[in-house]
Every structure is written in structure tokens, then in C-alpha cells.
């Protein structure tokens, strides 16, 4: 005996449909939370990341004792939160003597942990410490330019992983059309050494130049920090292959009977079976076949 449960209100149905898996995905929502102990700098870092991603981020301010991302049993809480808030990237901050100012950035596939990378934050400069002309401040939700400088991002495994995760995190909404007047932010990541990355957020100032393309000028605006890659966990191959599948990957079905001609364009052949004229049924029904009239 089964019962069909459908939501009674249209609002609930719309929310559920928003959370359903889509063919082409728009940006991932981020979950920002804390562990048992956080330091002052770490708190600043987390709140500034939340500011940068205001449109699609959820911030939890309580401390969570039972989350240990790199251990096999400590991920259940994270997965539960991800399910409840429909977030697929999380940023987990914790501070301990062994790993000071530790940030774990992780991604989820189908609300299960896909991959993790733990970085330490050093030399953090918050937004307030930069002085700039307030008019050029980037607006919330604008699409950024993301630049990666250094060959480390091509060679070193950990930096490659960090690049992918940072792209996912800083991307924002996935759009097809973009308004050129609304480009006002850029993230610059430079690989200083084989495990250190200098990340900074700048506003763009477009200056008039001779051609259509304006001249770019970067002004350091937002937070800047040194990220030291501590440990990371890559996804296992099967999961990775499944997650990378896109809708366009379906093998193109060979369309039969269609060929293109230079002169006529696309042509196809229509095959008509033999018409047996003598055996066809007549459209007008014979009088005797019709239904008899009622008395």
C-alpha cells in the first residue's frame, strides 16, 4: 500500500523544484561554519567570505564540535546541513595549536562529500585595512575575473586542486549572457611557492582607451591572504567521472536517412511502400456495413 505525497502549497512545490537536480547547473550555494575553536582572524576571514558571496551563502555562527572533515565519521553533520540548506560547497574554519587558522574548503556531490582541501590563512588583511575610493567598490553578486599566476598551478597536484576549488567557490552564478558594464571585480591568485598562494580581491577601474576595449586598472579592495595548502583529499575516480558528466556528453545519435547537399541543402529520402490499389478500403462506408437504425 503506497500513498502519493504531494505538497499542498504551490510555494513548497516551487522550493522543491528549485532543489531538484537540473540538466545545466547554476552556481553552487556555500555554507560557512565554524569548529570548536576559532581565532579572531579566522572569524574575520569567514565573515568576509560571506560578504563576498552574499547572494548564495549561508553562515552558521554556532560552534560545531562533531564535525571533522578529514575523518571518515565526522562528515555526517556536514552532509545533513548540506541537505537542509541545499549547499554544495562548504567553508569550515577551526583554530588549533597544530593547525592555526585552518580553513577546510570542501565540495559535495549529491550531498555527500566529494573532495576536501585544508588551507591555513596567514597574513590576513581585511577589507577595512584597505583605503580606496568608495565609488569603485564592486557590487554584490557581480561576476568576477579570476586570474591564476604561476606555473605551480599547472604542475603541482595540490595547487591544481586548489585552483579548481577556488574557481568553484569564487565563480558566482553561472550565466550565458553577461553585461559588460557590470564587470567590476577580479580575484588574483599567485603561486608564491609550491604550497603557498597569495589571494587578493581587487576592484576594476575601466579607463578610456582608443579602441572598444577599455584599459583595466586594478585597485586592491578586499581581503588579501596567504593560503598555505596543508592537506587535501581528492575524489575517487568513479565518483569524479560521474560528477564530470554533462548533458552534452550523451553520444550523438546517428541520424539516419539525412544527408546534406551543397546545392539543395539537407535532403532526406521518403520511402513509400507499394500501394495495392485493388485491396484498399473505400473511405465511404458501404450502406450495408453501417450500423442499423434503432426502432
Amino acid at each position: 500500500m503506497m500513498k502519493i505525497k504531494t505538497p499542498m502549497k504551490g510555494r513548497v512545490k516551487r522550493e522543491l523544484d528549485k532543489r531538484a537536480p537540473k540538466l545545466v547547473e547554476t552556481g553552487k550555494k556555500t555554507l560557512i561554519l565554524q569548529g570548536t575553536k576559532t581565532s579572531g582572524t579566522l572569524n574575520c576571514v569567514l565573515s568576509e567570505i560571506y560578504h563576498l558571496k552574499k547572494g548564495g551563502a549561508v553562515r552558521y555562527t554556532r560552534k560545531n564540535d562533531n564535525i571533522r572533515p578529514f575523518e571518515s565519521g565526522g562528515e555526517t553533520s556536514l552532509e545533513f546541513f548540506s541537505l537542509k540548506t541545499d549547499c554544495s560547497i562548504f567553508v569550515y574554519g577551526s583554530h588549533s595549536k597544530k593547525r592555526p587558522n585552518n580553513l577546510v574548503i570542501g565540495r559535495m556531490y549529491d550531498h555527500h562529500v566529494y573532495d576536501l582541501i585544508g588551507v591555513g590563512v596567514e597574513n590576513f588583511k581585511s577589507i577595512e585595512s584597505f583605503s580606496y575610493d568608495k565609488k569603485i567598490a564592486p557590487r554584490v553578486g557581480s561576476k568576477p575575473f579570476i586570474a591564476f599566476i604561476g606555473e605551480g598551478f599547472e604542475n603541482v597536484d595540490e595547487l591544481k586542486h586548489l585552483k579548481e576549488v577556488l574557481l568553484d567557490l569564487l565563480r558566482g552564478e553561472v550565466v550565458e549572457n553577461i553585461n559588460l558594464a557590470g564587470l567590476d571585480r577580479a580575484y588574483i591568485c599567485t603561486a608564491i611557492s609550491s604550497n603557498k598562494v597569495y589571494l587578493t580581491h581587487c576592484a576594476l577601474r575601466l579607463k578610456k582607451s582608443g579602441t572598444v576595449v577599455p584599459r583595466m586598472e586594478l585597485v586592491e579592495v578586499g581581503p588579501s591572504m596567504d593560503l598555505v595548502v596543508r592537506r587535501h583529499r581528492l575524489p575517487n575516480e568513479g565518483l569524479r567521472k560521474e560528477a564530470m558528466k554533462t548533458a552534452k556528453d550523451q553520444p550523438k545519435k546517428k541520424v539516419k536517412n539525412v544527408s546534406s547537399d551543397a546545392i539543395q541543402g539537407t535532403i532526406g529520402k521518403i520511402y513509400i511502400p507499394d500501394q495495392k490499389v485493388g485491396e484498399m478500403a473505400l473511405p465511404n462506408k458501404a450502406k450495408g456495413v453501417k450500423r442499423e437504425r434503432r426502432e
Binding site: 505525497k5 531538484a20 564530470m244
Partner: protein, 302 residues
């Protein structure tokens, strides 16, 4: 700081290069500014949820495809010949409503005692039930292939094997924990080496639940068996009844009974209860003895 400057310089170069390509794309004019259609992305990033599976066609859709039946768009209002107005196809004041039929002519196939109006309603109910059943089957088929629509959930209302229609009893978290503990203790090593789930708490009360006295023990006043039996006997014979008697409880019991008696007397004024009256004073004496305190009871019973 030098490093920062160099980074900014390099960054500017890169951003300029990207912007060059961007601004050279064909743009359409919009209210806020030029709108550009972005080229398809080159870096592959993992998805956040699995690809949605296409819905399997329902039984009707398969049948319609086979027969070549096309879906025709229906209007919301239909011309009603009887009244000569436009009426709704369904809803409040609809065209072919069952309750608007004044007369149903009897056919040769009808039985004499049957109500044709009720029969029409029953038929409609049966058709609706059949449709619901078919809808459930379609959804089950979709769920089997993993393509259930996101706003629909299939819930089991009763166990399939048993015949009763009682809803399954909801088990609380504590009960489940107790049951899990019981199952664990029934293993060979008493559940000590069982692999626990990540968030399972340890069993609440471990070890033996009852304490039995040892078989052989030294005698003397301190021996436990003697103490145990002494306690039991004292309770039975009420040797130290002044310690056993709970004076406050006895007092309250007496007062409550008196109140009840008073109320009963008020309610049943006519009734005479001579026999009960005879019994009552005796009871009162007994209770009064208890009320007076430990001293009196000692006199009476020792």
C-alpha cells in the same frame, strides 16, 4: 609588498587579455549596457547533483504514441445547448453535471430495484479510483527508474504482508537505542567489541543488572543473607512498625476518605446504610489509633 605590486601587475596583464577577448565578442544593446553572449566554458568543473534522469512515458503516453493520438487543446468554456449559455467545462457551474439531470429513462438492461442516479455516482467514483491507481502505478514505474518528479514522494502506509490496516507504530530514539543495546548484549561477547556507527552512543547500563548474594559467606551480624531475611520478616510481622508506618500518608488517606464519605452522604440523602454505619466506627478507631502517633500503636500491638 614588492611581491604584491608584481602580482597586481601580472594580474592586470591577464585581466586585460581576457577583457580584450570579451569586448570583441558580438554584443547586443541593453538598458544597462552592452550584453554579450559568453562562449561555452573550457574548464570542466564537477556538478553538484547527479544528472536528472528523463521521465519514462506513462501507460497512456505509450498508447497514444502507438495509436497516433494527438493532444487537443480544450477550451475552458463550452457552449451548453440546454440553457443556451457558455458554461465551464469543469468546476462550479459545469456543462454535463450529474446533478442537473432531471429524468433518466429506463433501459431494458436495468434491474427494477436499482437507483440510476446513485449508479451514475458510483460509476464516477470507480472511474476516479481507477485513475488514481493508474497514476500510482506510473509513479512507481518512474521511481523504479529513479526519475520521480521532485515534488512527489511515495510513502508506504502499511506493511505489505500483514492483513491489518493499522499504521506502523512510531519508535522513539530512546527505544531504538534500548533495542540496539539489547541486541548487542545477545552477542557472544556481550556487545563489547561490536563496530559502532559514527554517532552511536555507548550502552547505558553495562554489566549485570541483578546482584545475587555469594553462595558461601562468613556468619555473624554483618552477614548479608541474614540481613536480607530479617528485613523481609520485619516487614511481614511489622515488628518495628513505627518506622514502617508512614504517618503523613495515613493521615492524608484518612482525610480523603472522610471527605468522600461526606460527599457521598450529601449526594445520597435518602439512602440509609445501617450496616455500613456499624462498620464505620470500628474503622475510625483503628485509624484514630494510627493518627495519635507512634506511642499508642506500640501499646496496642507489642
Amino acid at each position: 609588498d614588492e611581491l604584491v605590486k608584481e602580482c597586481l601587475q601580472e594580474g592586470t596583464k591577464l585581466v586585460q587579455a581576457v577583457a580584450d577577448n570579451l569586448f570583441n565578442l558580438p554584443s547586443t544593446e541593453d538598458v544597462d549596457g552592452p550584453l554579450v553572449k559568453l562562449p561555452p566554458p573550457t574548464t570542466k568543473l564537477p556538478r553538484e547533483k547527479h544528472l536528472p534522469k528523463p521521465k519514462p512515458p506513462t501507460k497512456w503516453e505509450e498508447f497514444a504514441k502507438k495509436k497516433g493520438i494527438k493532444n487537443r487543446k480544450k477550451d475552458k468554456v463550452v457552449w451548453d445547448e440546454q440553457t443556451g449559455t457558455w458554461k465551464r467545462r469543469f468546476g462550479y457551474d459545469r456543462v454535463n453535471d450529474d446533478k442537473d439531470i432531471p429524468i433518466i429513462e429506463a433501459k431494458m438492461t436495468d434491474e427494477p430495484g436499482e437507483d440510476p442516479f446513485a449508479k451514475r455516482q458510483d460509476d464516477k467514483k470507480k472511474r476516479v479510483e481507477k485513475q488514481e491507481k493508474n497514476r500510482l502505478q506510473n509513479l512507481k514505474q518512474a521511481a523504479k527508474l529513479g526519475a520521480l518528479p521532485s515534488h512527489v514522494q511515495l510513502a508506504a502506509t502499511a506493511l505489505p504482508i500483514t492483513g491489518t490496516q493499522a499504521p506502523p507504530k512510531k519508535v522513539t530514539k530512546d527505544e531504538l537505542g534500548n533495542v540496539a543495546g539489547m541486541a548487542a548484549t545477545s552477542t557472544a561477547s556481550g556487545g563489547k567489541f561490536d563496530r559502532k556507527l559514527p554517532e552511536e552512543k555507548p550502552a547505558k547500563k553495562q554489566g549485570k543488572h541483578r546482584k545475587f548474594l555469594p553462595v558461601v559467606e562468613g556468619s555473624g551480624i554483618g552477614s548479608r543473607e541474614k540481613e536480607q531475611t530479617e528485613n523481609v520478616l520485619n516487614k511481614l510481622i511489622s515488628k518495628h512498625s513505627h518506622e514502617i508506618l508512614n504517618v503523613d500518608k495515613a493521615v492524608t488517606m484518612y482525610n480523603v476518605k472522610k471527605e468522600k464519605k461526606g460527599r457521598n452522604r450529601k449526594n445520597q440523602e435518602g439512602r440509609s446504610s445501617s450496616t455500613s454505619n456499624k462498620l464505620k466506627p470500628k474503622k475510625q478507631l483503628h485509624k484514630k489509633g494510627a493518627k495519635k502517633g507512634p506511642g499508642s500503636s506500640k501499646k496496642g500491638k507489642a
